[in-house]
């Protein structure tokens, strides 16, 4: 029933599919760097302690620095409220079902607060170790968290999260006596994926390791401002 005769052709388009996100992320990274704002993207499985670590972090930083938190969640405001309860500004990004943040979601949230000056911007990604690793948000520092109860096989199972992170935080260290978890094994496996990975061991409950982590963040902020490169 063709009105015209048809021919079949093949076109090689060679087009990368995720490029739009990367371009936007690069624009954000440059703006943040020019304004001297250190942007940190936190990745982990659900419940590894991202918000708990951030609660401790903003408490330690808020008297000296202007701190902003973007909270990624599939559909609740709870994490942003936990940060606001510490007296620090937080913007909730609800992804509406999407399992990770994308640069365009971050940009929309950022535009609400970009009129003010900030020193630190923390982005808590959606709890998930797979998808967030594939989406650059324009951060200067990507940090992956593993909690003691999760077990020590995470790096082998989710290599991309570890390949793309510069820092690793082992959280809930207060629980080490109760779980069969070897920090050494995790660190060894993670460093096979990322040889220069810097490791922190923290507990949001006891405060263990928080000082060292906060100092490293401050050093990285200064390095970003002085040399334009982020240390760590």
């Amino acid at each position: 029933m063709y009105r015209k005769t048809m021919k079949r052709i093949k076109v090689d388009v060679k087009r990368e599919v995720l490029r739009a996100n990367d371009m936007l992320a690069e624009t954000l990274r440059r703006e943040w760097k020019d304004r001297g704002i250190l942007v940190v993207n936190l990745l982990s499985s659900p419940g590894s302690g991202k918000t708990a670590l951030l609660e401790r972090t903003v408490e330690a930083l808020k008297d000296k620095y202007r701190v902003l938190v973007l909270e990624g969640d599939i559909d609740t405001e709870r994490d942003a409220e936990r940060i606001r309860a510490k007296g620090v500004e937080a913007v909730q990004i609800t992804t509406g079902g999407t399992c990770h943040l994308e640069a365009n979601m971050v940009m929309r949230a950022w535009e609400e607060v970009s009129g003010e000056d900030w020193d630190f911007l923390f982005i808590e990604n959606v709890g998930n170790l797979i998808c967030p690793a594939g989406f650059d948000l324009g951060e200067h520092l990507r940090v992956v968290l593993i909690s003691v109860p999760e077990g020590d096989d995470k790096p082998a199972k989710y290599p991309k999260a570890f390949m793309t992170s510069r820092w690793l935080v082992l959280t809930k260290m207060d629980l080490l006596p109760y779980f069969d978890f070897s920090p050494e094994k995790v660190i060894e496996e993670a460093r096979r994926l990322r040889p220069d990975l810097r490791v922190f061991r923290t507990s949001a409950k006891t405060g263990e390791g928080i000082d060292e982590w906060v100092e490293a963040l401050e050093e990285t902020l200064h390095a970003l401002r002085e040399t334009g490169l982020s240390a760590g």
Binding site: R8, I9, V11, D12, E16, V17, L18, F135, K160, L193
Partner: protein, 124 residues
């Protein structure tokens, strides 16, 4: 999962190519999926079914894909090839100074289209 988002991005590219060649139907298309692109092929296939039902352009289309292994280039000894033992260090000399040169992206490749015999390609 973000497979539907990815397919929607692919769809936009397909739509552009179809318009350029005056095609009303995509016959097939091929994807190169990086081993580290964080895509689960089974979920991509499910998402493709959803999209097929929604978009007439894809009504009879076939999706093919190929997994591209993570490929490293060593800046010390020059090794270029796939990674080994799930380690991002050079499999030849052990150096950590390597670049990932392939296996992280999703690439849309061959698109097969049915186009009218007399259609002039629409440039631009």
């Amino acid at each position: 999962m973000h497979e539907l988002t990815i397919l929607q991005a692919i769809y936009l590219s397909l739509e552009r190519v179809a318009r350029q060649y005056g095609a009303r139907r995509v016959v097939s298309f091929k994807l190169e999926i990086g081993e580290m692109a964080n895509v689960v092929p089974e979920l991509l296939e499910d998402a493709f079914k959803v999209l097929k039902a929604a978009e007439p352009l894809l009504k009879d289309a076939r999706m093919e894909y190929e997994i591209v292994p993570l490929t490293l280039m060593c800046l010390e000894c020059g090794y270029t090839g796939p990674w080994r033992d799930r380690t991002v260090a050079c499999p030849e000399c052990g150096s950590a100074i390597v670049r990932v040169i392939d296996g992280e992206d999703i690439l849309l490749r061959d698109v097969e289209l049915d186009v009218p015999e007399d259609h002039e390609e629409d440039k631009g």
